[in-house]
């Protein structure tokens, strides 16, 4: 390798390093975050908001966005982003937290809603521990996370996933922009199926396996009942397409079927086509 090339590479590495330091304070190694299991059955983690805190927040996989109360929003310097309350008690304002730190792991520019949620206040007063919010999707979705209730640890490793804007998605939903959806298999299997009206049993009926197709080569037969495809239930035509939409051509895939009263598994490798 020429000296010049090496110098260039070093420069690039250094630049990336500088940019990285500026924009992503995220720790790339796995970070273990201990949590406290509240008697109410919730996971509480220590959180810093823009360097302020620590505060106790509930780590909530059911929260599509993080939530903080008005008090900590003000402490974290987010007060000027708060509009005057439209409806007292029901106000909800959208803010961007510059850095949200959970244990020793950090993410920046995290969307959150500022609201004083009565349930969190109730948990706080019942358990004698102040709970100031919820850690939600825009934070945790950036990481491969492992939740272990036995050791009471949360392990966070950056995954490269970029969470989409939840509030924008919600606005789309509110505008009714989601009333129709089309589904297509991503590859060709050669399985024709059907399900009679009133047939409530698991799976769909295989009505025809196209000779020469991927499914025929794998040994699927007419009369088989297709129960799962790639571990997903195929109880309806829509389910079948939903599952097949996720499997690209040339990926060997396990399908579970029922034949002559017995369940068995076949491996089908679908091909390009439709």
């Amino acid at each position: 390798m020429s000296r010049r090339l090496i110098m260039t590479l070093l420069l690039v590495v250094a630049l990336v390093g500088i940019l990285g330091a500026d924009t992503t304070p995220t720790v790339s190694q796995p970070v273990q975050v201990p949590f406290v299991l509240l008697r109410s059955g919730h996971m509480a983690v220590e959180v810093k908001l823009n360097g302020k805190g620590p505060y106790w927040l509930i780590f909530d996989t059911g929260a599509p966005i993080s939530l903080i109360n008005t008090r900590v929003a003000r402490e974290a310097g987010l007060a000027r982003d708060l509009p005057p309350a439209l409806l007292p008690g029901l106000s909800a304002a959208e803010v961007k937290i510059k850095t949200l730190q959970v244990g020793e792991q950090k993410a920046d520019n995290v969307s959150a809603i500022v609201m004083d949620h009565p349930t969190l206040q109730a948990i706080g007063s019942k358990l004698g521990k102040r709970i100031d919010g919820l850690v939600g999707f825009p934070f945790f979705a950036r990481f491969k996370m492992t939740i272990d209730y036995q050791t009471k640890t949360l392990t966070l490793v950056p995954s490269g996933y970029k969470p989409p804007d939840v509030l924008r998605a919600m606005t789309t939903a509110l505008l009714g922009g989601n009333s129709r959806k089309s589904l297509s298999a991503a590859a060709q299997w050669g399985i024709l199926v059907g399900k009679e009206v009133g047939d409530e049993a698991d799976g769909v009926e295989v009505r025809f396996v196209v000779p020469g197709s991927a499914a025929a080569k794998a040994g699927l037969k007419r009369g088989d009942r297709l129960l799962t495809l790639d571990g997903r239930w195929t109880d309806s035509l829509i389910d079948l397409h939903e599952a097949a939409a996720r499997v690209p051509a040339e990926v060997a895939t396990v399908v579970r079927i029922q034949r002559d009263g017995k369940e068995l598994e076949l491996t089908i490798t679908p091909v390009r086509g439709f």
Binding site: G62, L86, M145, I147, N178, F274
Partner: protein, 287 residues
């Protein structure tokens, strides 16, 4: 933030408290370390949803929710699967199955519809109907690995006995009067003509494979006994039009084909040698 958006934001959070203590749960002895690959979907509002069957009925959509202390099954669903709660609102489900092969016998569940589900379904916020929540009491039995670059989670069965969440002795789980919001939003959604889940159209099966060509896509292969093959399509045919629309690439064809449901008519204008003809057939139900 508009008023509607602000009110809707309240429906996104489902932190819940138990109104009453859970009855004692006996942990069935199962092999530890058993691993499950659990498929999940994200709702429009980015809730993590898994599909479940209760007493072999379903599938139903449940939110994976560490913010809920227990398994919550909407009242409507409990009725549908024939589960009756005790006086405190708890029930034992004979068989609770999570997509991906995880079967939990004798699962403890609260039969209750949090107002957020009511409102979310009413406004169509999730893009699918939500039937319940899977919370701590069930989740604590697994080590869960969730990576949003994959479309399945890994759950590993743990062998310890999780502590039971406490009831808070509150009426309706301490929602502080927010319950009315669920009713309001459900009513509003009704007025706006919202559906909890979108109408889904699937593509019909044609039985062919195309390659991009110089000007038009070209048939690479045809399943002789598939719909296109039976109608006479052959490898090498050049596809110029699909249902009266000119196509110049495979992507064009796929785009148009998405709108052809099973039973839908397919008209392919093809060139074979010097000759231009139209082949007609019907798309079938399959993949």
């Amino acid at each position: 933030m508009s008023l509607l958006r602000m009110l809707s934001a309240w429906l996104l959070f489902v932190p819940l408290l138990l109104a009453a203590d859970s009855p004692p749960v006996r942990q069935p002895q199962r092999p530890a370390d058993k691993e499950y690959q659990i498929p999940y979907r994200l709702t429009l509002a980015k809730h993590i949803v898994v599909r479940v069957k209760i007493n072999r009925k379903g599938p139903f959509n449940f939110i994976l929710d560490t913010g809920a202390p227990a398994l919550f099954v909407a009242t409507k669903i409990a009725n549908r699967v024939g589960v009756t709660p005790d006086a405190n609102g708890w029930a034992k489900l004979d068989r609770f199955e999570i997509e991906g092969g995880l079967v939990i016998p004798q699962a403890h569940a609260r039969i209750e519809t949090p107002f957020q589900l009511e409102g979310m379904n009413g406004m169509g916020l999730a893009g699918m109907e939500i039937h319940g929540l899977i919370g701590y009491q069930l989740l604590a039995n697994y080590r869960m690995e969730i990576d949003f670059t994959r479309d399945k989670m890994t759950w590993v069965e743990l062998s310890y006995k999780p502590s039971q969440p406490l009831g808070m002795g509150l009426k309706s789980g301490g929602q502080g009067g927010l319950e009315v919001l669920g009713v309001v939003m459900k009513g509003l959604g009704g007025l706006l003509g919202r559906r909890s889940s979108p109408e889904i159209v699937v593509r019909g099966f044609l039985g062919m494979t195309l390659d991009d060509g110089d000007e038009f896509p070209k048939v690479h292969s045809v399943l002789a006994q598939g719909p296109a093959g039976k109608a006479g399509l052959r490898p090498g045919d050049v596809v110029q039009r699909l249902n009266d629309r000119t196509v110049t690439s495979v992507a064009d064809v796929l785009n148009l084909a998405r709108r052809i449901p099973p039973g839908g008519e397919v008209r392919l204008t093809i060139q074979r040698g010097k000759e231009i003809t139209t082949i007609r057939f019907t798309a079938e139900e399959g993949i």
